[in-house]
């Protein structure tokens, strides 16, 4: 199968749909991987990294979309990409169709077979392709919050972990799932006093198992919030 990887065109999207490691695995299984030139630039990956892994470099987005049997992306296709839709084309990406009625209609109209990463489920109901996003989100959230508390950025001038002899910052995290647990890790690591609110006692129990006395869990109800 020819698998195409075009450069993302959404503003502030620096990622790419496949790493050289992914290329290597697919090529080893007999597929052809077609990567648009400079598609990896935003992630610090040069074309050579992809050719060394066995990819072919395409000179334009158009080439990738036309030759590929399946296109692997990060973000949903934008209007500029609708023209490449054709019956039988497979698109594999984060789609979030609920928020994109125009895109949805186009995909149906052109009989594209679109697979949304965010809907892929394992037999136990878990969503494996959302988990890494959640992990990044949880960890980044605390870093972003810590930064925005800095005085010179307009914050309150609070250092999350304080220093010996001063109060530590208080961090409340709603929900102790993948996002919340990863946020808790970083918040604890930065020295904050962390409270996680959740409604499932099993989840809270697990958080106390792994974080010990470094965390407080609290039943999430209107009074506690």
């Amino acid at each position: 199968m020819i698998i195409g990887v075009p450069k993302e065109i959404k503003t502030r999207e620096y990622r790419i749909g496949m790493t050289p490691a992914g290329v290597r695995q697919l090529v080893a299984q007999g597929h052809t991987v077609l990567v648009e030139t400079r598609a990896g630039e935003g992630s610090g990956l040069r074309d050579e990294a992809f050719t060394q892994a066995g990819a072919t470099i395409a000179q334009s987005a158009s080439e990738v979309w036309h030759r590929a049997d399946m296109v692997m992306k990060v973000k949903e296709p934008l209007p500029a990409e609708f023209e490449y839709f054709r019956p039988g084309l497979v698109i594999y990406t984060y789609l979030h169709l609920a928020a994109e009625p125009v895109l949805t209609r186009k995909l149906i109209e052109k009989k594209v077979r679109a697979v949304a990463y965010e809907t892929i489920q394992l037999p136990d109901g878990s969503l494996p392709l959302l988990r890494p996003m959640s992990e990044v989100a949880g960890r980044m959230a605390v870093q972003a919050g810590a930064t925005s508390l800095e005085k010179w950025r307009g914050g309150k001038g609070v250092l999350l972990g304080g220093v010996p002899g001063t109060r530590r910052g208080r961090v409340a995290i709603l929900g102790g799932g993948v996002v919340g647990r990863n946020a808790a890790k970083i918040a604890i690591g930065m020295g904050a006093q962390v409270t996680v609110l959740d409604v499932k006692s099993e989840t809270m129990d697990y958080l106390e198992d792994i974080f010990g006395g470094a965390i407080e869990t609290l039943y999430s109800n209107p009074a506690n919030l």
Copy 2:
């Protein structure tokens, strides 16, 4: 030298001035150790434990005091023991003379050579014989506090560590020295949210080194208290 170990006679004092291990060390160095019969009872140590270590059992307090060159005790001598004082006798015990003017006068009068454990200093100024007492005090304090919070003992019905989904107990510890650090260990271990107040930033820094995010240190001043 003949070293005598009488049974403690103070109310609620279950300890004894020397363990069988201590007997063994002194006997190995050529001393005679004379232990009053049943002196170890309060600590669960039978006479045989002392004889196996090389001690001689005396049948009365009077025998111990009269034959011994040095008496090793736990607590200060009580009036009933003043009659045994004599010039040249060495008494080695916790004395706390400041609180005991009568005892002090008696010791001087009878020319007893009394050495108070609590005043023994190492070259660096530390008090090695008070340290274990401080360690016990710090650890017991939290245990006693936790117990007195129990509802059926008249407390507020607070469990120090709470359980997942509920607030943990708050413990404030004044001073991060030997007592405070040992209290903090147990309080953290029982799951409480612990704040140690101190005025030395070096001490607070060390507490954060060893306890990490499980503790908050706070500068001790009237406002924080």
Copy 3:
């Protein structure tokens, strides 16, 4: 629905069937919550706390039982409460019917719809309303044990964590489920040397994952016991 919360009348039962936070949630969903005056006293909750959350205060147990469609309690109804039973009344509480044949007959006779907290199961077979009780039980057990080892309470004079230079207390815990794991947390935290005996290697493996070298697990068989 009118939900009634009478004061508990069992000796030494200081709890109450609903907190103000619970009241707030139910009122927000359109229910009326009727709390007997001073029902929260044993938990340090005054009537105002309940009225501020939206509850109505009833002046007697009788009023609560008669007006309520559903009564929420902590402990099983006592004989003095049997007179309030009536067809259609819902009682939601810890019942432990196996130990209460008289109560069981009364409930059947009066066609009360009684739901026992302890029997509520999630689809995976877990008992969510027993878990917090187990957590409290496990944590309290070690605290109670530590206290009863104190010399002046008639114990052996053992401090669970010892102090540097002395033996630590040994704690053996039978079963590594919710109760055992919570007991282990506190016992480790108090500095004891902890052994958990269980028959499921998966359970023991998890305990070693979260407690690391601070615990020893042992296969539970007659020889080890």
Copy 4:
């Protein structure tokens, strides 16, 4: 003594020379504390906080400087403040005179008694008033570094702790003193792989004692750098 606390006038200096807690302590010792109005604004402290602690509010910097026997500040006096210098006045602040020849001459000329926080030494040679600055510096450094690695701020798009399945960020810290140790705490806490370079094996040994396997220490020489 009348102790004056003027508002800091240096750009981006939001701190104040004394907190309300400090005021309370000095007033309790019989001193008069004169705080310039709005001096605490940058730290989120209103005039009332100071008056409640016992301070008197002065309406201008000039009033503070003229009435005070001792002025407590954060930063070195700026040229606009030189006019207030007078023989016998005590100034207590961070001075860093080596970098300020004009200020130095003015202080000598006007016979001001200036005490630089950064030069105050304890008998053991440590600098207690620099330690908290070092602690803040070390902790902020990692937070600032983590932020500047974010893609949208022009960084390499590296998350210090990575997420499961990806490489963690590498952080090298030169020197394992107060700054370095505090930087290491936050870097470890954010999930980075941390190496501290130092030349004193005692320092590195201590870091491994408190951080265990979460850190690597390396002898600092040209080859390792």
Copy 5:
């Protein structure tokens, strides 16, 4: 039932199919346990340990095999033991039949009912009798690896944990299941810098939960390997 435990005859196999604790449990349930004399020798267990637990000692392997209804072993039967096979005999041991075609034929021919430990499954598909083997394997692997790095055994002269000021050893573990997780525990404990490669993000997430910053997880693909 008569349960027989012969001495293992495979070279370097020091284990025995049942411990005295196992004997005690089976005897308590009414079975007769017949242990070959000196069968426990390799594990440091003398015949008396088994008789005290209720076993009968047999003087030869032949006696055990002939009298037993079920034989419990560690390793697969060797040719010298084939002669004892008979219809209806139950053998309970690690069999690994895939590697043993001759043994397989013999078992079928003689209508032996052989149960292989390694194939016993719980309802959730886990293999409880392989887990302890995996735990031992994972822990031993690192110990063996550390040893074989010693210079005088022909290794590279690398100490896994290094010492302060030197690089730590790097350990890469393929797979984060039972074997890998146990290997990681020991490798981290010995001070190495540990990377676990796996393909399941849930597994890697759990490893980071329990090991915190002491481990790096990496997606296992040809590029990372």
Copy 6:
């Protein structure tokens, strides 16, 4: 100064007196460093590593000893090296003269200025060049002990950390100084149940600070031993 680094000639001594990093530092300070060819072989360091750092390679031990003003080694000179001794030559190495009367006489006779690493003291009395040796010794000791417990090497067949459900190995460490503390780290890390015996309560207190409940400290006396 010309500094010479000959190849070590003692049996089983694979180390070398200076690493390329050390060469770089000394050359940067204006010294000439003369390294015997293949001297780094035992440590996996080729001649090029030294020349790249600025060293000159000598073709024989004789050349190194004759041209050098100071010789840096690891182990004490052996008889084959005595012939190179001459007045004014400086030798800097581990000497352990107490065990080497012949060497001592030779050094005096030939007026060599020998500096023993093991005797170099800092103002606080610590021995900085023995510390790394002690760290290696402590860590290796446990690894060696763990290995020698393996059954097939003639040991008792004990795995230090056991596995879930079995007893862990017991490790007793005499002395909690640098050697003991490093041994404790590895022993705890391998999962053993560790007891450190010492006589200084300050030392034991520090061990409990950094190892928490993972260790037991015990006063070292004949009874406990």
